[in-house]
């Protein structure tokens, strides 16, 4: 009973938030609605007993990814409303629905077969976080390490791509130096 109420409430909230994300013309509304939708999605993980995954969802998505997006939006002109692609709306919606149903069919096709057994069954008497740790650091140790290396590469590439000219501090330069740097950049872009 409680589970059903929670499921339907959070399903409605999540769908509403993500609908706002794809329909609004203001980038800031889309950002805040996406952050809210991420938090509501973590509620599903808590309902499903995946406590650690829910905590990770809040920390990584709402804490890190959304903060990164908010930081990145400072570089862009986000105050003007976003232009939309002018296409046939029925084709877009219909193709999306067909593709989504196809994805779920691909997912559920192996499950319909009867010989489905748990590969790493949950251990009795251990909490979710403990179970996750036991599986992650035994069976999935190499993918875990690879994910760590991938995150390191992503961090380095993010610094290299976005951190150009960041050795010059705008707060320590006077107005003339800032104007010179601006002209230099404009000339470089024009040539």
């Amino acid at each position: 009973m409680f589970e059903a109420i929670a499921f339907y409430l959070f399903a409605f909230l999540t769908i509403a938030m993500f609908f706002i994300v794809v329909t609004t013309s203001q980038a800031l509304y889309a950002l805040s609605a996406l952050a809210a939708g991420m938090i509501f999605i973590s509620a599903f993980f808590f309902i499903l007993g995946a406590d650690f995954l829910g905590a990770i969802q809040i920390i990584v998505y709402t804490g890190a990814v959304m903060a990164l997006y908010a930081f990145g939006m400072m570089f862009f002109d986000t105050t003007r409303s976003v232009k939309e692609k002018q296409g046939n709306k029925f084709i877009v919606v219909g193709m999306s629905a067909v593709a989504a149903i196809l994805v779920v069919l691909i997912f559920s096709a192996p499950m319909i077969s009867t010989n489905m057994t748990a590969f790493y069954p949950s251990v009795a008497g251990a909490g979710n976080t403990q179970e996750v740790g036991m599986v992650l650091f035994t069976k999935y140790l190499i993918p875990f390490e690879l994910a760590a290396v991938m995150l390191l590469v992503a961090m380095v590439s993010g610094i290299v791509l976005a951190g150009k000219k960041m050795d010059a501090s705008l707060t320590l330069m006077n107005a003339q130096e800032i104007a010179e740097m601006k002209n230099e950049t404009i000339n470089k872009v024009n040539t």
Partner: protein, 102 residues
């Protein structure tokens, strides 16, 4: 109706995936296209967690963790590229990305 089963979660995942696909197809701004991509990844995460719960198997949750890690690195690299593109061209519309069209 009152008993929440695996199908409920799969249907929810489908709806969210469809919303994300609509976003990918109709958006022109690359930043909002990234938002739609996040919706896609999250909807798949719900399906993974639900399957993991209803079959008593932790593999689904493991995959959800790796999906989250991939999403985080995608944001870092993609946003860096987007900032470089914006510094050079002054906008982030998809129409201006066709410089290799010839």
């Amino acid at each position: 109706m009152m008993e929440i089963g695996l199908n409920h979660y799969l249907v929810l995942s489908t709806i969210l995936f469809a919303i994300g696909l609509v976003g990918v197809m109709r958006r022109k701004n690359i930043l909002l296209l990234f938002f739609a991509t996040e919706i896609l990844l999250n909807s798949v995460n719900i399906a993974f967690a639900a399957i993991s719960h209803y079959y008593g198997d932790l593999t689904g949750q493991m995959f959800a963790f790796f999906v989250i890690a991939i999403a985080a690195s995608e944001v870092a690299v993609g946003l860096g590229l987007l900032i470089v593109w914006y510094k050079r061209h002054g906008n982030i519309d998809l129409d201006n990305l066709s410089t290799m069209k010839g």
